[in-house]
Structure formats: C-alpha cells, structure tokens
C-alpha cells in the first residue's frame, strides 16, 4: 500500500510547523482510505475565523435590515424622499374592492404579492408589513429592537472586516490569492464555461482560487465596504463628519437605496456561494473552512 502523499506547499502551513503537520496526520488517519489523497492546507486561521463571524453578521444584518426597511417600505432616489415623493420600489398594502392586497411596485410595474410582500400574516392576522415576519429580526415589527441588532452586528462586521483587511494586506492574501492576475483575467471566459458545465478545477489548479472565485470574493469585499459606507451616509452625525459622502452617493435617499441594492446583491452572492459549495463537494468545502484542510480533487486523467 503506498503512503498518502502529504503536500504542504503553502508557506504558512510549513512555517506553522508541528501543529499543522499533526492535524494533517490526524486527518489522514481519520479520513484516509490510502488512495493517494492529497491533503492541502487551504484556508489559514484568520480567513476561517473572519469568514464565520462575517457570515453570522450578514445573517443578522439582513434580517434586522429588512425589519428596519418595513418602517418605511419605499425607496427613493435623490437627496430627499417621503410620502409625497414617488418611490422606485415599494412594498405596500393597498385596499382593493376585493380586499387588501400586498403590492410590490418596481418602477411602473405593480405585482400582487399578497401573503408574502406588503400584506402578510403575523400572529394569525394579516397585517401591512413589507417583508414577512419569517424573514425579519426580530420577527415582530419593531424598529427600535431591529436597530439594536443592526448596530450591534454592524460594529462586529466593521471590526471583523478591518481585521480581515489588515491581515490580508500584511500576509499578501489579498494580493496573491484574491486579486485576479493577468492570466486570471484572460481565463475568465474559459472559467465561465467551466462553471456552467459544473466542472471544478482539479489537481494543482484546485489549490488556488479560480478566476471567477477571485472576482466573486473581491466583489463581496467591495460590496460590504459599500454597505458600510452607505450605512454611515444615512447617519446625520456622520453627515457632519464626512459631508462629501452624501455627494458621492447622490444624497441620503440614494444612499439608502444603494444600501438596500447592495444588501440584495450580497444575498445573491450568498445563494451562488452556497450552490457552489454544494456542487464542489460540500463536506470537503465546509471542512476546509473549519479546519483549513482540503482534499485536492484528483486530475481527470489520473
């Protein structure tokens, strides 16, 4: 029986020495089937820790954010916007001859979303609320408490994000692993085709983020940064600290709308991210984000 080949090409893995080698040995004993599995130290501890803290923050921020949105379920463009102005997006309860309906309005489109958006059941009764109770934190419509959760996790998100960004710059994680190289950019069309065919990189190619992964992770860093900036732009005190942020985003109501559109984009990212985890092998992928160790998928020809 040939011994599994242990490769720790990652400089951090080699540098951190005994501990990682011990973990690799243990994983080999625990999961090894002696079929030449190549184990690779893929995610370093700061990445894993900040990833899970970030995930929890995003869950709470989206849930509490939807509850906050319900206090005025309309989005406007520009410096001001209230009841007298026309929203480009709204989730309203509208009285019709046939009874109240939940109406989702996007520009000139009006869609009946009774039971889900605008008019849904809460505590057995239908009530006017933008997003339904099963999507919001807390479940009950409560602006004060939703704001408490929102700002608690906003602080954690910002501190966690700063730790991640500082570490990523110092360890060159950002430059080496995330920023797409010239050849990554050239390989984008190929990478798109591979993703559509649900084929994932194998062998040495699986030890680095592929071109679309790099774009996606860079994108989520930018989206979260935009989220924090537009969030701060909604703060009247922050407007007195950095008034130019209002001009950058085109006014407070525009900033609020961008905040919402970024949140929507982050939800899309999470959905695609989770689908990719499942397609690429959920056990291996989740384990690699927990322990750092990744079983490198074998090349097709081997």
């Amino acid at each position: 029986m040939p011994q599994p080949d242990l490769v720790t090409t990652d400089p951090i893995a080699t540098a951190s020495g005994g501990k990682t080698r011990g973990l690799l040995r243990w994983l080999r004993r625990r999961f090894g089937t002696n079929d030449n599995k190549e184990l690779f130290y893929r995610h370093r501890l700061p990445v894993r820790l900040t990833h899970w803290i970030n995930a929890l923050c995003i869950l709470f921020l989206i849930g509490s954010g939807l509850n906050i949105f319900n206090a005025h379920p309309r989005l406007y463009w520009g410096k001001y916007g209230a009841d007298a102005e026309a929203p480009f997006f709204s989730l309203d309860a509208v009285d019709q001859d046939s009874g109240t309906q939940g109406v989702t309005q996007i520009g000139r489109w009006h869609i009946n979303t009774t039971g889900f958006l605008g008019w849904s059941k809460d505590g057995g009764e239908y009530v006017a609320r933008g997003w339904p109770n099963w999507l919001t934190i807390p479940s009950t419509q409560d602006l004060a408490d939703a704001r408490h959760w929102h700002f608690l996790f906003a602080w954690i998100l910002v501190l966690n994000g700063l730790i991640y960004l500082c570490w990523s710059l110092l360890s060159r994680h950002l430059g080496k692993d995330i920023l797409p190289t010239r050849s990554d950019i050239r390989a984008i069309p190929h990478s798109i085709i591979e993703h559509i065919r649900l084929r994932h990189p194998t062998g040495d190619a699986a030890k680095r983020y592929n071109p679309l992964q790099r774009l996606a992770y860079l994108g989520i860093i930018l989206l979260i940064s935009l989220m924090v900036l537009t969030g701060l732009t909604m703060s009247p005190a922050f407007n007195a600290i950095f008034p130019w942020l209002l001009d950058v985003f085109g006014g407070r109501q525009s900033a609020r709308s961008i905040h919402f559109l970024c949140a929507f984009s982050i939800v899309l990212f999470v959905v695609v991210h989770l689908i990719e985890v499942v397609l690429a092998g959920p056990i291996n992928e989740i384990r690699s984000m927990l322990t750092g160790i990744y079983v490198v998928p074998k090349d097709h020809e081997s």
């Binding site: 005994g18 501990k19 011990g22 973990l23 040995r25 243990w26 899970w52 929890l56 869950l59 849930g63 906050i68 949105f69 206090a71 005025h72 309309r74 406007y76 410096k79 001001y80 916007g81 209230a82 009841d83 007298a84 102005e85 934190i137 807390p138 479940s139 009950t140 409560d142 602006l143 004060a144 408490d145 704001r147 408490h148 959760w149 700002f151 608690l152 602080w155 701060l232 909604m234 703060s235 009247p236 005190a237 922050f238 407007n239 007195a240 600290i241 950095f242 008034p243 209002l246 006014g251 407070r252 109501q253 609020r256 927990l290 322990t291």
Partner: protein, 264 residues
Amino acid sequence: MSIGIVTRRAAILAGFGAAGTLIWNVNNITSSSSFTHVYQTVEEWTRISQRALLRTGGGLAPEYAEADISPTFKANGTFDPGGDEYKAHVAQNFVNWRLTIDGLVDHPLSLSLADLRKLPSRTQITKHDCVEGWTAIGKWTGVQLGLLLKAAGLAPNARYAIFHCADNLDGEPAKGGEQSPGQYYESIDLIDAFHPQTLIAYNLNGKPLAVGNGAPLRLRVERQLGYKQAKYLQRIEITDSFKHVAGGLGGYWEDRGYEWYAGI
C-alpha cells in the same frame, strides 16, 4: 497532538452551538434585560466614536440650496396636539404662547413668540432624517439655543436641556409593554445644546410653522434623527439628569426603546 485537535473541535462546536442558540432564540433574547445592556453599550460606542470624529472636523451638518427643499415637508408623530388650550392658541395665532427656560439657570426666562422673533436669528436649509428612513429638506429660521442658554446663565452642574412639549402621543406602550405618560419630551446634552445649528425654530420655508410641523416652536438638532426634533415647545428645563421625567430615559421614544443618542 490529539489534545490540540479535540480542543479545536470543541471550539468549533462551541462556536456553532452558540451561534445556533442565538439565532434560534433571537426573539426571546430581544426582549431580555441582558440584551438591553448590550445595546446600551453599543449606543455608547457609537456616541463616543461619533463625538470623537465630530471634534476632528467642522462638525456642522450639511446645509442645502433653496432648490433642494422638499416640496412637502412630511409631518409625523403628532399632526395636531388638539385640546381646548392648544386650539385657543391656534385661534389667537399663538400671541399668548410662552417658552419658559428654567431649572439649573441663574435667570429663568419666559419668552413670547414676539420676543423670540426680535432676537438675532439663524436660517439654515437642512435635512430631516426620520428614524423610519425617509428624508425631508426644509429651511428653518429660529434663535440659536446657545444664545438663550447664555442669557439664562447655566449653573455649574447643568448637564442636559429637557424639552417639554404640548403634544400627548399616548397609545404607544413603553418598552416592556406598560403604558407610561404619553406627553412628548426630549433631551440633549450641552454639546448639542450649544451647537451653532441647534435652533428654537419658528419658521419653516419662510413661513410660521404649520401645526403639523410643530407650531409655534420646534427644536432643531441637526446632527441627530427626527424624533429628537421636539415640536410644540413650551418649556426648556436645564438639569443635571433626565431620570426624573416620565420613563427616565430622556425622551418619549427613548422610553419606548429608541436610542437617546440618535446620531445614527
């Protein structure tokens, strides 16, 4: 080595167990008293960090051009305080309305609208950001609160200005469900009280305040949210604490779970 792995596994399980417990019980945690301590701490971080940053710059809320003014300035909260007394004031065009400034001051003041209009005024076009999410831009004219407080002369232990209003907004239960007095009130500290943009406003967009917008007098604290901009002002009480008023948390909405420091 195996100890290292066991503790690592225990740490991962503990982390996910804690996160799962938090998510599963989020509604119960929201109404627990320990969560109150958590969010009050968060409010303190926000206040301290925003105040520190405000000291580094000019610290003025942005002011806008005439063209930016909202065609309609949305009224919210109380639309009309009602009651015989207030109705009589409306009928008399508020000629007998008085604003008193008392408490920890050397010279308590009682001012009519005519007195206030004779004083030096400030006009500013600012945005009003409601905690609910909407924004209205309006042109306010009024007397700087700092000027009035200097005239009244503050005692050394003065810390807060409490604004007592003519409107009663009962119906909204206080935090925890019990009904507390619905008389509207607000409070700010002396940093905001002496800020140059903090006004006792009598005009909106060049006209005397409409009833829905707080006639005859309204507070403007431009670096905080809409619920701090108390309407229908009758009395400014200078104190060293706001614990003795209503629910004790410094304002009508504060007593109902909202932050006292409404800078975000």
